[in-house]
Subunit: 328 residues, 2 copies
DNA sequence: TTGAAAGCGCTAACAG
DNA sequence: CTGTTAGCGCTTTCAA
């Protein structure tokens, strides 16, 4: 087995307290004994047992992250950002995943707490009041990213609605006669937390009010490819699709291409998120960058503040940015 | 604070030992007291402190995973697989990330050990003998995925060489006059563990020996786009590119498209890995599926065997499969 | 069937 | 400056 403070104490002929003082750089110990102990520790490859330390101190320097589905680019990019930011403060990150399952979600949070994480970063798929209530009972600080749960629960993200409004206006100003908001998650509104998509939808509708002469339509179905195709083929108007996620846009583009239709010639299309798959896509998709890495970074920073006992704002907005493409 | 076994004992008027026996489903306790304790535990929302349990038992039911760069699709897909498989055995997974940094890599392993994980799954960027030696000293079972470190260190992956050979032959049989193996990581051979890419390269070369009349070339540079373009433009032969990763293939396709060149008309191209970005790409890229999810799953299974004291094979091969596309 | 006591490796309050 | 002691919450051996 590995060497403990007890071993070090015995070997160095000092008390365990002295060993601790040396290891943790505390005062109340002479430089010579400190050096002696540290040298010996180094020599024997001493390593702090974080379990024991955590148990004794009541904190673990561990933060837990719960997200659904890393296969989603969105999360993959964010996780790196979170990990890096936390590391810079000496914290360790425990990333856990589930597949949009509410029970699993809660279970993961529980298990992280069982392991006594000091704080949590969550991107929940749950949103019901019961879940909000559950969160409120948690004994550790936490912060929500992406899918807001309730307004009294700390949250960091971008202003989805405003971003969607601006995107919509960009499309509208290109003289399309019809704009279709494509948002399949909307049909899961009862089942999941799709806050971001709802906000984007609101932004779309709000913006469209400024353009009464433009036809507005919404597709809220996982059969969106067929529905969109239907619309595009049957209408004589210049049509653009505003998709609530880049993946939907890419899917549509592929589908339309199969019918010989090209953007921007035959239709306009815009995504949302700016996932990095777009790098390989031609024509370059117009979209909105959701600043996912910055969101992750901010989440960690806010959590640290919280851990240090500081009050943090409930609503934290990060800047998004429009990405010019060739499809509008 | 939360309720402990001590609290339960006091409240139920029994000893802590009895509480433990009830909670852990051990025998040596009457059904009635057991029920009484469990009911009370439930009522008070008792939760085992895994830190204390881990400390006392010397095992944590935790497995650590170290990978570089989740932004890579390869890992994102694999992590889900690992998490799911581990969960099914009651283990908890701690995923940690770094950015191809050897020091960070070792540091992460150390920290996971400090938190006393029971086992490790690693996809290392290091490969030197020193690292291998370091791994051999670890006191917990571990398994390597993807980048093999040494032949005495347990490893799970696909037969990269054989897969690359078969892919090469597929290309060769389409009557190309020149085949270029595009493998930028090869120029990092001194810096990183690029075992998989090396194996793919060997497979390519071995296969090409069977086709002496076909021109074979290798690009081992991060300037591969320009070099490939150069080759394609300057040679009159029917040329195909065999890329050691789908991303390189997508990059080339985009670059060539910019020059008005299309696959398969103007050149052939094949990728490797079958990343899911391919879903959105047209024409459909021919590639090899590296069975990444199965690899992750197997890694967990093998680790469990190891945790249970069983011997595991050092070399564990998972089946890959060719993916027919339109670009060859 | 039940309980007392020691211990996992560390920290922290208090004394010398 | 140094050491003694108790304790974090759980497990485990041994005795009743």
């Amino acid at each position: 087995m590995s060497v403990t403070t007890k071993d070090l104490a015995r070997i160095c002929n000092v008390s365990r307290t002295s060993v601790v003082r040396a290891l943790n750089n505390q005062k109340g110990i002479s430089d010579s004994t400190r050096k002696m102990i540290l040298d010996k520790a180094e020599e024997l490859g001493y390593r702090t047992d974080m379990l024991a330390k955590g148990l004794a101190q009541g904190k673990t320097m561990y933060i837990g992250v719960v997200v659904f589905d890393v296969r989603n680019r969105y999360f993959a990019q964010m996780l790196s950002a979170i990990e890096n930011e936390a590391k810079s403060e000496g914290y360790f990150v425990n990333i856990t995943l589930h597949e949009k399952n509410k029970d699993q979600e809660k279970e993961l949070i529980q298990r992280l707490l069982d392991y006594r994480v000091d704080g949590l970063i969550l991107s929940p798929v749950s949103k019901d009041e019961e879940f909000a209530e559950y969160l409120r009972t948690l004994q550790v600080p936490y912060i929500i990213i992406g899918n807001k749960v309730a307004s009294d629960i700390p949250y960091v993200g971008i202003d989805e609605m405003k971003a969607a409004m601006e995107a919509t206006r960009k499309i509208a100003e290109k003289n399309y006669e019809k704009i279709v908001f494509v948002c399949p998650p909307l049909c899961d509104i009862e089942k999941e937390n799709i806050y971001t998509h709802i906000q984007r939808g609101k932004g779309f509708q709000k913006a469209m009010q400024l353009y009464p002469h433009i036809d507005a339509e919404i597709i809220a179905s996982w059969n969106y490819k067929n529905e969109a195709l239907q619309i595009l083929k049957s209408s004589k108007e210049r049509t653009a699709f505003f998709c609530s996620g880049d993946e939907y846009a890419l899917d549509l583009m592929k589908c339309f291409r199969g019918e010989g239709l090209r953007s921007p010639k035959d239709y306009g299309i815009m995504g949302f998120d700016n996932i990095d798959t777009l790098l390989y896509i031609e024509p370059k998709l117009s979209t909105t960058d959701n600043a996912v890495e910055e969101v992750g970074k901010q989440a960690v920073r806010l959590l640290f503040k919280s851990l240090n006992g500081q009050e943090i704002p409930l609503k934290n907005m990060v800047d998004y940015s429009a990405v010019e493409g060739e499809t509008i």
